[in-house]
């Protein structure tokens, strides 16, 4: 398993710009502001990312702790999305989908400032991103060699 780039491994927390965005989100909930701001406050302060050679681990929450682990090889598709307010703060989110039946996106990486780099990194680890043409050619080559061997052995038998 190849090592991951240092700048990706260094991401442990969302950007600080996520907090003012959360405040905007809470304001937009109107009368729900007091509850929403408390939930988002703890979410922001407890959100942790870990990118290792095999996959992504994300966790957040104190009372109701959530932790999600996704292996790079299991990623089905990558969504990079941002609304108008997020773009004004210079952040975006990446939703990673696996083949599980979750109704929500499987893993949402919030508050990313280098979202395109992250997307490209995740893409490079997805299945099918690198090895598209190598396998059928290898397979055909191997089959051809084996058939040649069979032909050689057949010829030997005939000669003997």
């Amino acid at each position: 398993m190849t090592e991951i780039p240092a700048h990706i491994a260094a991401i442990k927390r969302p950007s600080k710009k996520l907090w003012p965005y959360y405040v905007c989100v809470a304001v937009m909930t109107g009368i729900g502001f007091p509850v929403t701001i408390v939930v988002l406050f703890f979410k922001y302060h407890t959100m942790r990312y870990r990118f290792d050679a095999e996959g992504i681990r994300m966790s957040w929450g104190i009372l109701f702790r959530q932790e999600t682990v996704v292996n790079y090889a299991r990623i089905q598709d990558i969504h990079l999305s941002s609304n108008f307010i997020e773009r004004w703060f210079g952040i975006a989110r990446i939703v990673v989908q696996t083949a599980s039946g979750s109704a929500m996106g499987n893993l949402t990486l919030e508050g990313l400032t280098n979202c395109e780099e992250m997307r490209d990194f995740l893409y490079s680890r997805m299945r099918g991103a690198k090895e598209a043409h190598a396998h059928p050619a290898t397979e055909d080559g191997l089959a051809g060699i084996l058939m040649e061997i069979a032909g050689e052995v057949r010829a030997i038998r005939a000669a003997l």
Binding site: D77, N83, F84, Q97, G105, T108, E139, A143, V153
Partner: protein
């Protein structure tokens, strides 16, 4: 990025520029756009909705006039202001809607390489989806009667997974393309290089065993025949 108003709007909304194609050989990169009739179709849909909204508003604004009570001059003044306000608001909303439809049509890209596809759409919420062909499970081409009439179709490419989360669906949608069959054939052709389940099997990168197995069986049969011939004893 085109005309001045469009650039101004995109800068205001911080819309990112045209997406970069995903990895793949440069000669394999193909960018598709929504068909021109897609824009016309969206404008027609929008026009029909606006027509019924206008009709409803006209009925509501005219209702006080139908009252048999005599109307004072003050009533007409207030009524005129209300009508002017409602019509101005409606016109502004319609203009914004038309701008949104125009930009949504223009800022929509469907990129296909030999390994993956990337779809970018949206103005208010920009969504970009990247999917490798190794994970594709299904391709569908949808076209309703009106779409058929306009020569349009939607090509929907699905991976595994059941997410219905807005903006994070497991289906990539080539909406309103006028060459849906060509896109379907292109993706089908790209899929031929993958023979696994597309579910991230740990050994899915191994070649499909059928041809190799046939060759190995042939070799085995020959070696057995050689041994059975007795020349080695």
């Amino acid at each position: 990025m085109g005309s001045g108003w469009k650039r101004w709007f995109c800068e205001l909304l911080r819309v990112p520029p045209e997406p970069q194609p995903p990895d793949g050989t440069p000669e394999s990169i193909q960018t598709f756009l929504a068909g021109k009739n897609y824009y016309r179709w969206r404008v027609i849909q929008f026009g029909i909705v606006q027509f019924f909204i206008g009709l409803s508003m006209a009925a509501m604004l005219a209702a006080p006039l139908l009252s048999k009570k005599p109307h004072t001059a003050q009533f007409f003044t207030v009524w005129t202001f209300i009508v002017a306000g409602v019509v101005a608001g409606w016109a502004l909303a319609a203009l914004c809607g038309l701008i949104r439809i125009t930009l949504d049509y223009q800022m929509r890209w469907y990129i296909v390489t030999d390994r993956s596809l990337r779809i970018r759409s949206g103005i208010w919420r920009v969504n970009e989806m990247t999917m490798t062909f190794a994970n594709v499970q299904e391709i569908r081409v949808n076209a309703g009667p009106l779409q058929k009439l306009l020569g349009l179709s939607d090509v929907v490419v699905s991976s595994a997974g059941g997410s219905t989360h807005p903006g994070a669906s497991h289906a990539a949608r080539f909406a309103g393309v006028d060459n849906g069959d060509a896109i379907r054939d292109l993706i089908t052709d790209r899929l031929r290089q993958y023979r696994d389940t597309g579910l991230g099997d740990p050994d899915a990168h191994k070649p499909a065993p059928l041809a190799v197995e046939d060759a190995a069986r042939a070799l085995l049969a020959e070696v057995r025949a050689l041994r059975a011939s007795g020349v080695l004893y």
